[in-house]
């Protein structure tokens, strides 16, 4: 691209984005309701986020969120000394490099959980899975804990703590793990600027040049769908993906689209952690896509199958843009750390 063309496109994108987002309501606040004697809690997100659904039977309260937070960091949940935080560290946007866990971030908008979507439903359903199946939480142990007796009594009016209540408390806290204050978000809300390299990366991301947007939709930076992106040519065993859940041969090799928010903090990448850097990820999309029977149709574009042919500068710009999705406020938020 000629230098003048790039400059013109840069300013065109800047002006377009700033004008469009200037005309919209800037934030939406979700508030708990009908919580009795408990204190209402709120979640505020940008207006360009999808709508959040908060179930009527698990409204947000400060007491409920605090209880969920305490449980999140408490090894009492398991019989192995592990807590949720053992595999979901705040500094890594609540992911963990050791086990390549998906980040606990913006899960309030998910309806499928885990790389193959094995757990479906609401956050409450996901946390029920964690309590009952993953941790096999010893409910009696929690019931015999004096501190939890008082907390559950206050939040759920429970004389006897159940696994459902534990899951619901966790869901309230996890629902609060919202990331929306990256440099990209600040740029959209006119609180900050992106560098020319980051803007060019945004253009590559959000156009046919890179074509990232089709799966990593703006806002949440995920479409919450499942795709086969050609990381292998055959898929079996742990690499079967969504097929392991649905048994549908058309789902072979499909995995959940992870959010790219805070992606610079959530290495390694892909369902099996095969890529350790963002550069390796981009190289895959640029020239490493492997043909297979379930390759997402988007990847059948001639430029995808034969490589995007991104220049070194374009790759660097794309990495710069992805790094601009880091939300320092989120990974340092004291309300989300160990109580």
């Amino acid at each position: 691209m000629k230098k003048l063309d790039f400059i013109l496109l840069f300013f065109a994108v800047m002006i377009t984005v700033l004008v469009l987002f200037a005309c919209k309501k800037e934030a939406v606040t979700y508030m708990g309701s009908d919580t009795g004697a408990l204190s209402l809690d709120t979640i505020t997100v940008p207006a360009y986020f999808p709508q959040m659904i908060i179930p009527a039977d698990n409204q947000l309260t400060k007491e409920g969120v605090a209880l969920g937070r305490k449980l999140y960091y408490d090894p009492i949940l398991s019989n192995t000394g592990q807590s949720c935080s053992s595999c979901h560290e705040q500094s890594s946007a609540f992911s963990f490099s050791g086990v390549n866990s998906m980040p606990h971030m913006n899960l309030a908008w998910n309806s499928n959980f885990l790389w193959n979507g094995a757990v479906a439903g609401s956050l409450e359903d996901a946390m029920t899975f964690e309590v009952d199946v993953f941790f096999h939480t010893n409910i009696e142990m929690i019931n015999s804990n004096v501190a939890y007796q008082a907390l559950f009594k206050r939040v759920f009016k429970a004389n006897r703590i159940t696994s459902k209540q534990i899951a619901y408390a966790l869901a309230q806290f996890v629902r609060k793990q919202v990331s929306y204050r990256s440099r990209m978000d600040k740029f959209l809300s006119h609180e900050g600027l992106l560098t020319p390299s980051e803007i060019n990366g945004f253009v590559i991301y959000n156009s046919e040049r890179g074509d990232c947007f089709h799966c990593h939709s703006l806002g949440l930076f995920t479409d919450n769908g499942f795709h086969n992106i050609g990381i292998d040519s055959v898929f079996f065993g742990a690499n079967a993906g969504r097929y392991a859940v649905t048994g549908n041969i058309n789902d072979l090799g499909k995995f959940k689209t992870p959010s790219l928010r805070n992606v610079a903090l959530t290495a390694p990448y892909m369902h099996d952690g095969r890529f350790t850097t963002l550069e390796e990820v981009i190289d895959h999309y640029d020239s490493g896509v492997m043909s297979n029977v379930n390759l997402d149709p988007i990847f059948s574009k001639p430029n995808h199958l034969n490589g995007l042919h991104l220049s070194a500068q374009e790759k660097a710009d794309l990495v710069a843009f992805l790094e601009a999705l880091t939300d320092s406020s989120f990974v340092n938020d004291p309300s989300l750390c160990t109580p």
Partner: protein, 246 residues
């Protein structure tokens, strides 16, 4: 002097008035002023119900293909009244071909005789602006990138076709204002008692049929960014639907 009406005449008049009142009431029960209209969307391929993920459909160009994704918007529905007072809906409906129930509901439509309908596949220029629709996950996923014009995808039709050697993917993505698809259908129906139902049936092969035959191998299998391909398909899209009533 006081005039006293004969009671037998008075009685007859009262009975007549009562009869008239009852008749009017009965007519209102049969023909209310407003009614709800349910438009059922169905998807077929030359008469056969669309089955997703099944490589068994052939278009006029001879492309053997399957469908994995079918998503689109229907908006600005107009019902043409036989009496001149057309009904216009401002609603935008998102349709997902994988979902069994794609009923559109128009509430509180004036009763009466209608002779046809019109609607857009996609969004008019007034509606087709970024973040212009309610931010559901579906609408966010349909966003058309800012660098390419902004707004929303009008249609996403994806799947695989046989290229002679093996499977290739196709992604029919239609968007941008010049490619708005304006449909108009003639159909007489009487809307007078709730709920009334119409069936709007999409024949997917019509996307590749008239006025221009579309061949994946010649015209392209990926249309986003290809304004010529998008315009061909948008022109073909004007008659992908036909309407029936129950």
């Amino acid at each position: 002097m006081k005039i006293q009406l004969p009671t037998n005449i008075l009685t007859k008049v009262m009975l007549l008035l009562l009869f008239v009142q009852m008749s009017c009431t009965k007519r209102r029960d049969i023909f209310p002023e407003y009614a709800d209209l349910v438009i059922q969307i169905t998807h077929k391929v030359d008469g056969e119900k669309l089955i997703m993920d099944s490589m068994m459909y052939i278009n006029d160009a001879g492309n053997l293909y399957e469908v994995n994704r079918l998503e689109y918007y229907i908006s600005d529905i107009v019902l043409f009244s036989a009496y001149g007072n057309d009904y216009c809906s401002d609603e935008v409906f998102y349709i997902n071909g994988r979902v069994d129930n794609n009923d559109l509901r128009l509430l509180h439509v004036p009763s009466g005789k209608y002779v046809g309908m019109a609607f857009n596949i996609g969004l008019s220029s007034l509606k087709n602006s970024s973040n212009g629709l309610t931010n559901t996950q579906e609408n966010v996923n349909m966003a058309w990138p800012e660098p390419m014009g902004g707004g929303y995808h009008f249609v996403k039709l994806e799947g695989y076709y046989w290229n002679g050697i093996g499977k290739s993917g196709y992604a029919i993505h239609i968007g941008t204002n010049p490619c708005l698809i304006e449909c108009e259908l003639g159909k007489e129906f009487l809307l007078g008692y709730s709920p009334h139902e119409l069936q709007l049936e999409m024949n997917l092969n019509e996307w590749y049929r008239t006025p221009n035959q579309y061949n994946f191998l010649i015209n392209g299998s990926i249309t986003m960014g290809d304004s010529i391909a998008m315009q061909i398909l948008a022109n073909n899209g004007k008659d992908v639907f036909n309407v029936k009533s129950h």
